[in-house]
């Protein structure tokens, strides 16, 4: 399902939700959760924290769905709410590093056929080290581009700025990440990287 098909389907579900369809509420909650989880998962280090942000976003989305004027713009609207919550979560992280950390790197239990998983873990480590040095808006712009494949205009709508600013945010973010040593090492392990 591509983005335009997804938006059209979301529009249908929003209309069904407004008519009291419980299944539509489930569908929309899952879609909002998924979109927000992927954005916040890219910029926050912990799956739990990303899950918390995703749940808060989905709750906000469902509670204020009556105010959405264009049902087809559901995804863009979710991204806008996600940006607000993610910026708040990143602000909280500045103050105190959360005590809960994931144990994904536990035990050194490497296996011969776990190359995919190793690549995933390498990607996570490389990104978390590189992204942590970037300003919050650059991280969000990169996440919306590389996780959700959004255009400059769509990212600008989500971030509440002009497309020109998005272009600058992405350029600076990319430049900073390309110079990051852990991402350079990761790029050698990526086919075609």
């Amino acid at each position: 399902m591509n983005a335009s098909e997804g938006s059209a389907l979301a529009g249908v579900q929003v209309r069904a939700f407004r008519e009291g369809d419980a299944a539509a509420a489930d569908w929309l909650a899952r879609r909002a959760c998924r979109l927000a989880l992927r954005t916040s998962g890219a910029i926050l280090r912990s799956r739990e924290q990303a899950g918390d942000v995703a749940q808060d976003v989905a709750v906000d989305v469902l509670r204020s769905l009556v105010r959405l004027r264009d049902p087809e713009a559901f995804d863009a609207w979710v991204h806008r709410i996600t940006v607000r919550h993610a910026l708040r979560a990143l602000g909280r992280r500045q103050g105190r590093e959360r005590a809960e950390t994931t144990l994904e790197a536990l035990g050194g239990a490497a296996s011969a056929d776990a190359r995919d998983l190793d690549l995933v873990l390498a990607a996570r480590d490389a990104l978390s080290s590189g992204l942590s040095k970037l300003p919050a808006k650059q991280r969000l712009a990169l996440a919306l581009r590389y996780v959700h494949d959004r255009s400059d205009e769509e990212i600008a709508a989500a971030l509440g700025c002009r497309p020109g600013s998005v272009h600058a945010l992405l350029s600076r973010g990319r430049a900073a990440l390309r110079n990051d040593q852990s991402l350079v090492q990761f790029s050698r392990a990526v086919p075609g990287g």
Partner: protein, 423 residues
């Protein structure tokens, strides 16, 4: 790798790929819907209106404000100089569980949305007679770890572990385990991404510093996990196959139950580190001091046993799907030999069949080592141990067969086999 419309950098696209695959769990979505529905139910029919107030109303409101301010000041002055209360051990914690909260620091931190995603099925099973008729104390559920399921062939990529506290049923028809007199039990529940999960029998508060609490539990997700009270910062588990220093955080110690070490030529050596092979546990404090220990050192009955050889167990005719595999380890102490066998991906036992372990040379030359007990369950894991006979050197293979009858007659249905080496 496919490039999308707006993505111009393959390295960044690959680095962000894990985030593109994130999916919310059913529990998270259910929690969202529940939060929305609950708020709607609470607010239904309530419409806020500004009250109409006259001069009398203003005066009475002013009087009430002054009275509240005076009362607050009195409370502050009267409470001055008293020791501060326990953090987090506030009114929403049941009185009976306060002592438990003081022993497990993780229960003092505020509950997050992630903590509330414990699958409802766990509560249902616990409340049933099979679970001892116990009920979960919802305020005391904490998500304590999220781990990747890294062992090869693992069916799911992520497992979540919860620390839960259960209270005994008020009038149990089936006696709760171990006993209602022991009060609240603290347990570990787990759930994988596919929605499978389970929980352990639980420990009463009074046992948190005993040997019973020090023994880790093995979960079907391939991890050993144990509850540790406040003050324990490092744990060492000694197994027959080696020593493990599990990760300790949020009052739990957690480590994989298998160890994979490269043995050259792309071959991996696998060591089973399961509680049945445990012979010692040590808890250390923040300054490295030993807080509690049992079974280590010279008291270790397996101390003299040395690993003699390791045998990979494979299917005689490989099948692509759900491939079972296993490992057998031969230990030696002088002239005595013992063997441990671990396998995964096996079909669960049904009524009337059982797995058996054989020493094997030909269909006519074989020796039954024994039937596997406990039987293989839905998780497909087999784990057993026993001694090797003195004439083990006469055989060339070790085989696991599926037997349909109780007599030691070779069924010929070899599930896994490997070349026996006793060095």
């Amino acid at each position: 790798m496919t490039m999308s419309q707006h993505q111009d950098d393959p390295v960044l696209a690959a680095a962000f790929a894990p985030a593109r695959r994130l999916e919310p769990t059913d529990a998270e979505v259910a929690a969202v819907v529940e939060r929305v529905v609950r708020r709607r139910t609470t607010l239904r029919g309530r419409r806020w209106r500004w009250p109409r107030v006259g001069v009398g109303g203003v005066l009475s409101a002013l009087g009430a404000t002054v009275a509240v301010a005076v009362a607050a000041l009195a409370i502050v002055l009267a409470g001055h100089g008293r020791p501060p209360s326990q953090p987090g051990a506030s009114g929403n914690v049941p009185a009976a569980a306060r002592r438990l909260v003081s022993m497990l620091g993780v229960l003092r931190r505020p509950q997050t949305a992630a903590d509330r995603t414990l699958p409802a099925s766990v509560a249902r099973i616990l409340a049933s007679p099979a679970g001892g008729g116990r009920r979960i104390v919802p305020q005391l559920t904490r998500l304590v770890a999220t781990v990747a399921n890294r062992p090869p062939g693992g069916p799911t990529p992520q497992v979540r572990f919860f620390l839960i506290v259960t209270a005994p049923a008020t009038a149990p028809k089936n006696p709760p385990k171990p006993s209602p007199a022991l009060g609240d039990l603290v347990s570990i529940a787990w759930e994988d991404s596919a929605g499978r999960g389970g929980f352990d029998a639980g420990l009463p508060m009074a046992w948190l510093h005993t040997k019973a609490a020090m023994r880790p539990q093995i979960t079907e997700a391939g991890y050993n996990i144990g509850i540790v009270p406040n003050g324990v910062t490092r744990v060492r588990w000694s197994f027959v196959g080696g020593t493990v220093n599990p990760t300790v955080q949020h009052n739990v110690a957690l480590a994989p139950s298998m160890r994979y070490t490269p043995a050259g030529n792309g071959v991996q050596k696998v060591t089973a580190l399961e509680p049945k092979y445990l012979h010692g546990v040590t808890w250390y404090g923040p300054h490295g001091q030993v807080i509690s220990s049992f079974g280590a050192g010279s008291a270790n009955p397996f101390a003299a046993w040395k690993l003699a050889s390791q045998i990979n167990l494979r299917q005689p005719t490989p099948t692509p799907a759900n491939k079972p595999a296993g490992i057998a380890a031969v230990y030696k102490d002088g002239t005595r030999r013992a063997i441990t066998v671990t396998a995964r991906g096996l079909a669960a036992n049904k009524t009337g069949n059982a797995y058996a372990i054989w020493l094997y040379k030909s269909p006519s030359q074989r020796k039954l080592l024994g039937f596997v007990n406990p039987a293989v369950g839905k998780n497909g894991r087999l784990s057993t141990a026993g001694s090797l006979p003195r004439d083990a050197g006469n055989y060339t293979h070790i085989a696991i067969t599926l037997q349909d009858h109780a007599s030691p007659r070779f069924s010929g249905k070899i599930v896994l086999e490997g070349t026996l080496t006793l060095r």
